[in-house]
Amino acid sequence: MEHEVDKRSFYEVKKGFMSWAITLDHKRIGIMYLVSVLIGFGLGGLFALALRLELITPDKLFMADKMYNQSFTLHGAIMVFLFIIPSIPASFGNFMLPLMLGAKDVAFPRLNLASFHIFLLGAAFLVLSIFLGAVDTGWTFYAPYSLHTDTSVVCAVFGAFIMGFSSILTGVNFIATIHSLRPPGMTWFRMPLFVWALYSTSILQVLATPVLGITLLLLMVERVMNIGIFDPSLGGDPVLFEHFFWFYSHPAVYIMILPAMGVMSELVTTFCRRNIFGYKYIAYSSIAIAVISFLVWGHHLFVSGQSDFASMLFSLLTFLVAIPSAIKIFNWIATMYKGSIDAKSPFLYFVAFILLFCIGGFTGIVLGSLSLDVNLHDTYFVVAHFHYTMMGGVLMAFLGAVHYWWPKMIGKMYNELLAKIACFLIVIGFNVVFFPQFLMGAKGMPRRYHVYDPEFHVYHVISTVGSWILAVGFIMVLYYLIQSLRNGEKAPDNPWGSLTLEWKTTSPPILENFESTPSVTCGPYEYKGSPS
């Protein structure tokens, strides 16, 4: 079976549009996902900037009510469906999973390509809906309003429905890959923690996403045929829609955060040159988060007319999520202890993640408490909370992953100094945007209004100024990454001295990933001289 291994990088083996459009190579598919989610992020970001600009005055600046509603809906829907959900698992997961396992590809390469095409199709419907009368329901599509608004709900919902299948198929693919394609010697507890995180994410994608699919399908059927399931005027129950929707969408926030946590484990070990503290606990806590995330969706329904009994139960269960999340945070911090820390830009994003995610997590406990949530529900406190977890958590990890794996994926280095400055700008900008939102939320500023009481004016001004700092930070990242693409220094195979398998091949990898299948004899993070 010996055959000549093509030693050119996977970019050079084939060229041209078709070599990308119908490729079965997981690396190319990962890159295409990366480009897609970055476009999604840019689009969602533009809406965010527009919203912040509108809010700089207490009265109308340039957006009328409906346009404002459409803008925040699109900001949410695009960020959730086009950016955060596919961000880390579909782009870095696809690129890195087989590499980290020493495999040649994912288990089902054709299915992998199909899920990317399905993703594009869904995205096309979502974008199409913008031109057919953008949705103004909020990204949650709550019934009964979504049944009666004259905007193109069916088109947008159909797009999200299709993208759900992309997510499910990726999950199926990853589960099969992790089970079957581990190299000789790599037992379950020798897998990198990013792989564990992808595994738990895939469980969520496979078990939760279908419920979103059927919910959105029922919403379309209800809107087109009035079958009376969600519409109270026909005897239906709108709260049932919220149950269905959040049965998916609460686990979905863990689809977003779990891969981010996986990235964190890779970053902290590499840049502290130290074995991870409590490997098994981090691995198990990923699974625990995945399971518990299915038990807590009702905390989104505290003021929606859910029964008191259910609210109490869900509030209680919600607190459970804090335990595995805290286990991870403590273990990462313990890993840093006595490590030889090399504060390169990916590590700065790790620190930013810990800081911001902790704030997001703690305020999550506040919101999970039934009595407090009744007051804080639908205020800017909630907005700030989930931006601290989603943006402060997932986005920081995403940027960390971009900076960590960029040399491997592209084969070029970027300007480290600019990267550090951009990281500081982003973290500062982020806090300037969202910290004031906690304050005004606690004082009662409701979300989703473009005209507000002058009492909140100063907070909104600070927040809007912060959004500009944030934008400058992102533009800087874009600038030096493009610069690196054009004339960056060639990256060595292992610029960070990391031990996981993806660094054992060339940068960028060859078509078959490895010249010979690597075998594994120890855990993924056993750095020299590091206590285990």
Partner: protein, 216 residues
């Protein structure tokens, strides 16, 4: 094997797998994961069924009388037989019996077709009585929310019917490949996978039949 070689097209293991065994097991694991997804996909409709049954028990009692138990029973038997022939088709492929594989798959396809014909007749009967989904509902009854039951009925059986149609498409694809001689004792993965899918379609119906037609 020399005799087999002449009758069948030899299967090549994909480059990222070590052996045919690993390839088969991976495909099966993936398929089971996909079936898990299917279960959750249907479960939301069953939850909706349970919720509205709890809210409007009298309406459900009234509504299910509009359904024909005989037709539902007939369809249950047809699907069970098709599941049996599907299992037999896989077995025939396992022992490299091309002719039997083809015949059993064909019988499965015919059963699936029968199921859809019976379903079509049922739907026509409902339409005739004005029991259409949602806004076209003109059915008469004592309950004012009768349309919800039929909304659920059409969603559940409709989604199940779509699965049957997809299954029929897959079986036709299998028939073509069987005819080409692609399935034999060393390689019958697609037959096995479609088989699993087909049994799941049967499984869903096993629950739909008593819940929609019988329980009053």
């Amino acid at each position: 094997m020399s005799e087999l070689d002449s009758k069948f097209i030899k299967h090549e293991v994909a480059h990222h797998f070590e052996s045919a065994e690993q390839e088969f097991d991976t495909a099966k694991l993936g398929m089971w994961t996909f079936l898990g997804q299917e279960l959750l996909f249907f479960s939301a409709l069953f939850v909706a069924y349970a919720v509205f049954r709890f809210l409007y028990p009298a309406m459900f009692l009234e509504a299910h009388r509009h359904l024909s138990v005989n037709m539902g029973f007939l369809n249950t038997i047809v699907l069970l037989i098709s599941s049996f022939t599907m299992a037999m088709a896989i077995r025939s492929a396992q022992v490299s019996n091309k002719k039997h594989t083809f015949i059993y798959l064909l019988v499965t396809l015919v059963c699936a077709g029968m199921f859809m014909v019976v379903k079509y007749m049922e739907y026509m009967e409902k339409f005739h009585h004005g029991l259409l989904p949602g806004r076209w509902f003109t059915g008469e009854g004592t309950s004012e929310v009768l349309h919800i039951f039929f909304g659920l009925y059409f969603c559940l059986t409709g989604l199940h019917g779509i699965h049957v149609l997809i299954g029929m498409g897959l079986i036709i694809w299998l028939l073509i490949r069987t005819q080409k001689g692609e399935f034999y004792s060393e390689y019958y993965t697609p037959v096995e996978m479609v088989g699993l899918y087909w049994h799941l379609v049967d499984l869903v119906w096993i629950f739909l039949f008593p819940l929609l037609y019988l329980v009053g």
